[in-house]
């Protein structure tokens, strides 16, 4: 009688539905056999010898599921375009006012910038040998630029160079994928020589290091543009108000 007031019908139905879903998921989990030699990871590990990369994750990301990486790059490009559309107003045409900046911060951030960018480049070009790759290294480079923007308020990047690098690397990535399609009859086919004896060397794995370097340039420039828009918005607003 009073139960309907305390617990509305909607809540009861929702709880019944969620418990049924939970039970079905539990039932599915109980059916999973702990057979370690039949899952998809081991199939990929066995196939990893084809690509001759020391890091098996890299061969999955750029070769076996390479089309997913193309999708991720497209998503990132769309996100950058949206942020640029939102945050870059006509305010950018206002005249610049030089802000006061600290000498110690300026020099220290410039010193650190080279080290961080070097680490990012290391992560990118060792993507097929050790953990990491184009995405991670690109974001590390972008954090170096974030440090630069926080330390020097008057700093600004050349957008035309960044956009050029990003577009060229994106086009080159698609071209590499299409060359693989024409030469090997599969998208992102590994058309460069990749002998299995060279596994673990810096130049090995065919097109996989090339793809990671291209993805690194693209992600690094896109993330730098995003970081600049986010840290500069306030600056341009103040300039225009003054």
């Amino acid at each position: 009688m009073n139960l309907k007031k305390v617990l509305p019908l909607k809540h009861i139905l929702l709880s019944i539905l969620s418990s049924a879903l939970l039970l079905s998921v539990l039932g599915l989990l109980m059916q999973v056999k702990t057979n370690l030699y039949k899952n998809v990871g081991d199939i990929f590990l066995n196939l990893n010898m084809q690509t001759a990369t020391a890091n098996a994750v890299t061969s999955v990301v750029t070769f076996f599921r390479g089309i997913d990486t193309v999708g991720e790059v497209t998503v990132l490009f769309l996100a950058t375009s949206g942020i640029a559309l939102m945050l870059s107003d006509t305010q950018r045409t206002c005249e610049k006012v030089v802000k006061q900046e600290s000498f110690i911060l300026n020099v220290g951030s410039r010193l650190l910038l080279s080290v961080i960018v070097l680490f990012g480049v290391y992560i990118i070009i060792h993507g097929h040998l050790s953990p990491g790759g184009g995405f991670q290294g690109g974001v590390v480079i972008a954090t170096a630029f974030l440090l630069l923007f926080l330390a020097n308020p008057n700093m600004s990047l050349s957008h035309s160079i960044l956009t050029l690098g990003e577009s060229l690397s994106g086009v080159a990535y698609v071209l590499v994928a299409l060359i693989g399609l024409f030469k090997m009859n599969i998208l992102l086919g590994n058309f460069l020589p990749h002998p299995i004896g060279e596994i673990g060397e810096l130049v090995s794995g065919g097109i996989i290091p090339v793809i990671y370097i291209l993805v690194g340039i693209k992600v690094g420039s896109e993330m730098s543009v995003i970081v600049e828009y986010f840290s500069k918005e306030d600056y341009y607003k103040e300039v225009c108000d003054a």
Binding site: T143, L146, D234
Partner: protein, 82 residues
């Protein structure tokens, strides 16, 4: 021993996440959310996924926190001015 470390990390993640939800100060909340990312970096590394750990450390802990803090900085300034 490694099981104890995993258990401790899980407990720390849950504690920090609850703190991030319940905290009144939004900057404090973002910093605690960074702690969730740090705990998951440790977990990914223990479970032998160094690639995912590196991605989480760079994006989840580094860049997203920076973007959150920049956003908070700009919006709170506007609120104070108006």
């Amino acid at each position: 021993m490694i099981g104890l470390l995993i258990l401790f990390t899980f407990l720390a993640i849950i504690t920090v996440a609850l703190g991030a939800i319940l905290s009144k100060d939004i900057t404090q909340s973002v910093m605690l959310f960074m702690g969730v990312g740090l705990g998951s970096v440790v977990l990914f590394f223990i479970f032998q996924a160094p690639d995912v750990a590196l991605t989480e450390a760079v994006i989840g802990t580094g860049l997203s926190t920076a973007v959150f803090l920049l956003g908070i900085m700009h919006t709170s300034q506007e609120e104070m001015e108006s």
